[in-house]
């Protein structure tokens, strides 16, 4: 009855894992793998179709698409993973504070969260990037500031659910400190659901960044962002569709693989899996 029931056959999850592993390796070893520098322009070879020299062709500035794709993996992976980690850490802290302290603090924190939650993610990210700048750091900061909300809600819910558990009463009776209860008795109980949300935060961040870069308000050029590459190809869509198809495919495959893996983890680790409203 869960989102990933049909994927329980492992196969798709295995394939996805392999693809993501390959992309991660490409990101890691980009300078050795890429045949050209990502920003090297060759005015004599503009908008070329795939050939032996340029396996995926070139863009309108004569830059090698394969090289840009490989460096783009670096950007997407860094951005996705770092954002997900920051968002998870902050979400844990916020959710713990709300759920554990309870009462008025909880009420205030949750009302504040509701406002952030009600606004569309992309709108908030756009407003934040105006302030934080359109570099990789600014983008990661903006994405993190938006995507902790889901994690915080999850953690708070888990804390409230566990609050009355007998083993917690036992720990309290034995004189365990608050910090010890949180770290030893609450956090380990949520590792599964947390891993699941973490795995959904990564593709969400990649999706948001590539969308913004596509409409020209994401990462500033010449950063080889996949969304930015697609944006470059947009002008040449009619006659040189490969320029836009290559990065679009990379984005779609990566996000799809992450989502499949997330569904798989969800089936495996989340005993009370429900489809989350905002992934």
């Amino acid at each position: 009855m869960r989102a990933g029931t049909a994927f329980r056959g492992h196969h798709l999850a295995l394939i996805s894992g392999t693809i993501l592993g390959a992309i991660a390796l490409a990101a890691l070893f980009a300078p050795w793998l890429a045949p050209y520098p990502f920003d090297a322009q060759d005015p004599s070879r503009l908008l070329q179709s795939p050939s032996l020299d340029h396996w995926l062709g070139t863009d309108r500035l004569g830059r090698d698409l394969l090289s840009r794709l490989i460096y783009g993996a670096r950007i997407s992976m860094t951005l996705g993973v770092v954002t997900a980690l920051i968002a998870t850490a902050f979400g844990i802290a916020y959710g713990m504070a709300a759920g554990y302290l309870g009462g008025r603090t909880d009420n205030l924190l949750m009302r504040l969260l509701e406002v952030v939650y009600a606004l569309p993610d992309l709108l908030l990210i756009i407003l934040l990037t105006i302030v934080l700048g359109r570099g990789l750091t600014g983008m990661i900061a903006a994405l993190s500031l938006v995507s902790w909300v889901t994690v915080a809600r999850l953690v708070r819910g888990e804390v409230l659910r566990l609050q009355s558990a007998e083993y917690l009463d036992a720990a309290r009776a034995l004189g365990a400190s608050h910090l010890r209860i949180i770290i030893r008795h609450l956090l380990p109980m949520m590792v599964g659901p947390l891993l699941v949300t973490l795995s959904f935060r990564i593709p969400a961040a990649i999706l948001a960044e590539s969308t913004l870069s596509f409409v020209g308000i994401g990462l500033a050029p010449p950063t080889p962002s996949w969304g930015g590459m697609a944006s470059d190809g947009w002008a040449a869509l009619r006659f040189y569709p490969h320029v836009i198809i290559v990065p679009s495919l990379a984005i779609a495959v990566t996000i799809f693989a992450f989502n499949v893996l997330g569904d798989y983890l969800n089936d495996r680790l989340n005993p009370r899996a429900v489809v989350s409203v905002k992934r």
Binding site: A3, I130, I251
Partner: protein, 317 residues
């Protein structure tokens, strides 16, 4: 009995009252954010001599203290005046939004109708025979729909249905035929999501004991579906439709950019590129109003659909 009316009215009043601080918070947050932004709006024109730049800034009251600007901004906002646009000197923000908002609304409404129709149909078909090929296909489509950025979906639709098949125009906004591709682009991912949610919700109800009792009594499948499954299974789906409507109206900027549609979202993107702060703030506030209104509408629908909420006066979420 009054009991059936009063909680609903109380709910509306509660929601309306709550929306005031929310809108104020959004307006204030946007104001603060944009004043934190490094560089002034007129910094890009480097050729401006200092005295002219001073004049320009005086015209837009940018030389005043921030507190004064904030008071002026809130005061104007209360009168429905969203201020001048820095980039479009001949029009103010309210006029631009009045021109572009209906376009975004039409697009959002068309996409919303598609989302509800495709999502419910897909979800019901999948729940009809869980594990069947329909179910598996809808799951695959749903995961694809969540994974494909809307601009990729749009590009594929433009390449296939506009450039190759010539069924629909690839861009612009000049008649009913122009709505199809952008609305489809916008609706696909949320429709996939609604389909999955509908399926889950229906199957959860189907596992309830009273449904089994109904089946054991020999009720025909039609009765089971109409008065058991759909009646109890659809209300949870309705709760996500409000945020979804809001997301469709506010998320249309990518689609408007892609199809060159003169909607509010496209102006928003241009405003961000141009650092046209009043226009950014204006659009953000309008978006917030749309979201608050959509959530209110859904709360009301939900109360009407689910008697448990109606009598207890609790919240839809």
């Amino acid at each position: 009995m009054r009991r059936h009316v009063a909680p609903a009215v109380a709910l509306i009043i509660d929601r309306l009252l709550w929306s005031v601080p929310v809108l104020w918070l959004v307006a204030t947050m946007t104001f603060i954010l944009l004043h934190l932004a490094p560089g002034g709006p007129f910094d890009q024109e480097k050729l401006l001599p200092p005295e002219i730049k001073a004049n320009v800034e005086a015209k837009y009251h940018l030389d005043e203290p921030v507190a004064g600007q904030y008071a002026r901004y809130l005061g104007q906002l209360l009168h429905g005046d969203l201020g001048p646009s820095y980039k479009y000197a001949d029009r103010n923000v309210s006029a631009i939004i009045a021109d572009t908002f209906p376009v975004s609304m039409q697009l959002g409404a068309a996409a919303f109708a598609l989302t509800v129709f495709l999502g419910l149909a897909g979800g019901i078909l999948a729940a009809w025979r869980p594990g069947s090929w329909i179910d598996r296909t809808s799951l695959l489509l749903a995961t694809l729909g969540v994974s494909f950025p809307s601009f990729v979906v749009g590009i594929v639709l433009i390449l296939v249905l506009a450039h190759e098949a010539h069924w629909f125009p690839p861009a612009l906004w000049e008649g009913p035929r122009y709505i199809v591709l952008p609305a489809l682009t916008l609706a696909l991912a949320p429709a996939a999501y609604v389909a999955r949610l509908t399926r889950t919700s229906l199957l959860e109800v189907a596992a309830q004991e009273y449904v089994r009792v109904g089946r054991a009594k020999g009720l025909p499948p039609g009765v089971i579906w109409l008065s058991y499954l759909l009646k109890a299974g659809l209300p949870p789906v309705v709760t996500v439709l409000g945020p979804m409507l809001a997301a469709l109206v506010t998320g249309s900027f990518i689609v408007e950019y892609l199809f060159s549609i003169p909607g509010m979202g496209r102006f928003f993107i241009t405003a961000v590129t141009n650092r046209d702060y009043p226009l950014i703030m204006g659009v953000t506030v309008v978006y917030a109003v749309v979201i608050v209104a959509a959530n209110l509408a859904v709360d009301l629908c939900y109360g009407w659909l689910d008697p448990r909420i109606r009598t207890s006066g609790g919240r839809g979420r």
